[in-house]
Symmetry: C2
Subunit: 333 residues, 2 copies
């Protein structure tokens, strides 16, 4: 990802030398900071799913989180960490996904302006969702260059502060609060799993698990056809974003500098799931847990269906990242 | 519904003169009896759905109940009320829906035999679900006569005890425990709503609401094209089962003798929803509450979307009857 100095100055993509991995203390501070604004989400279980895998599975359902995804945690933490002077100039990001909604939600809570740069071809339903939270949408061409240039122009005009979707210590610390709650509720887990896209959720999850449950295994799951995290960690060199149409559309992004460094430092193991297993796992979670999830949230169970030996006989905490499924398009009566 | 004397003797469809409406005391006893075997289900809310209707809506989610529907409550109550001698001869019903699974679940818990008579054309997935609970399935021709004859034959051979899906005081008392929990959690409701099919859930809900929250309105909702309960209550004469293909397939049955008498005695108001509103409400509940529901569970919100004045400004408790949606057939990625 090409970065302009202007964007770096505004913290959108800090240069490598500045990498500092957030700590469990950062996550605990984040938890206190965002507590009034987020749900403590429920943990669901299913005896049938346990039988399918031969393990005890605990699903931490961020699908019930504000804006329907864990992203509300990181966005709230980042927004509420801003000093007054910075905050009142507003916040900005480019995204057409859950982070855009989450940032709009957090900004509205703090009562500050929020700009979202979206590609012209972003689905109307997503534009509407962001607009409903009161954010100002600026449409751009559907290229990364146009996104960045548009964002830089708005920053020059307004002094808005950029809050990136995952490669940001404040955001990572916020995402870690999901695992913090889960391990508080379930102290004796043998394995903790989360999906890996840009790596924000996985980084926060790994930081918390290593600190609170040091003997637990930490496993990230990604689509087999978007396995840049696995290849990055195996090769020791961050791999480019995959060009992929995986059904797990939240996991198409590549790791960032901070998230890559975090996953390396925390010794996270990566497993993968085929597209067919992601779909099968989506069905099973909807059938058995009776929750609406997006396919990205099923990549963990998908990987376990393919290789149950990974966790056989163990107590496994799984973070279900979100529930923003387009039911109107997909569910036909 | 034609009844043979043999079936009447076994309590499947008691003659009119024996009608005795269960009381709140029966429901409280049922609650104690079934407590170990059922979930106390969560109550979910959505600010957006509240805005759509202009009221405070509280959704009591029986979709998270054992077997995915409130039916587990009534079946458990009936099965655990049986004396030892009767119980050990087993239980029987004819059903291809949630009651079959619920009875199989309850019988397995008590460790007694369970026979389910199902039409030959019942979907394999439903047969499988019942078989997984250990019930013995006997297939019959897809006519009511064949169902009843098959059931009578099995009863003659085994002495099994028939537990009907809704027109049974034990079953009604069990279904009432959902409203009991809801009103314990939310004492200040202005309106209590439930869907109406055979009327078991609605009867139990009305009995509980009249006793515990006497000033609350009690409203049943049914599909406009299956409005036999409305016509029955308006005319004072029980109307025949509708011939309908409403998408709310759990609500295609007509009231029974006991449920009709109960709804009359409890002065239940009936409202209806068009098919389009049922579908729209199903989408909105899945989008906003992030839960999987069957369309039958959306007929209440469907009616409110059509006529928000019914509940404007009020606190409304809504029982969400079940979550057994065939996601594999309906949800295409």
């Amino acid at each position: 990802m090409r970065q302009t100095p202007q964007l770096q100055k505004h913290g959108f993509h800090p240069p490598v030398m500045e990498i500092e991995i957030p700590t469990i203390a950062d996550v605990r501070l984040a938890a206190d900071r965002i507590r009034p604004f987020i749900h403590r989400t429920p943990i669901l279980t299913s005896r049938t799913l346990d039988e399918h895998v031969g393990a005890e599975l605990f699903f931490k359902c961020e699908s019930f989180q504000k804006v329907g995804a864990f992203k509300a945690r990181g966005a709230c933490n980042a927004v509420f960490m801003l000093d007054e002077a910075t905050a009142k100039r507003g916040v900005i990001t480019h995204s057409s996904g859950n982070h855009a909604q989450a940032l709009a939600y957090a900004a509205r809570l703090r009562g500050i302006p929020c700009s979202i740069v979206m590609p012209r071809n972003a689905p109307t339903v997503k534009q509407k969702a962001v607009a409903e939270y009161g954010a100002v949408i600026t449409l751009c061409e559907p290229t990364l260059q146009s996104r960045l240039e548009t964002m830089e122009r708005i920053i020059s005009n307004t002094g808005a502060h950029a809050i990136p979707p995952y490669d940001d210590a404040r955001v990572i610390a916020g995402q870690g609060t999901a695992a913090l709650e889960m391990i508080e509720d379930l102290p004796a887990l043998d394995v903790v799993m989360a999906p890996v896209g840009g790596g924000g959720l996985m980084s926060g999850t790994a930081i918390v698990t290593r600190a609170m449950s040091p003997s637990a295994q930490v496993i990230g799951a990604e689509p087999e056809i978007a396995d840049d995290a696995r290849r990055s960690l195996e090769s020791g060199v961050r791999q480019p974003p995959p060009i992929t149409t995986t059904i797990a559309d939240g996991l198409r992004t590549a790791l960032g500098d901070i998230t890559f460094a975090t996953l390396k430092a925390m010794n996270v193991r990566i497993v993968t799931s085929s597209e067919a297993s992601i779909v099968e796992a989506t069905y099973r979670m909807m059938e058995r847990l009776k929750i609406v999830i997006e396919p990205s949230a099923a990549v963990t169970l998908g990987a376990l269906l393919e290789d149950p030996q990974l966790v056989r006989g163990k107590r496994v905490g799984i973070i279900v990242c979100g529930g923003n499924l387009d039911v109107r398009s997909l569910l036909k009566f």
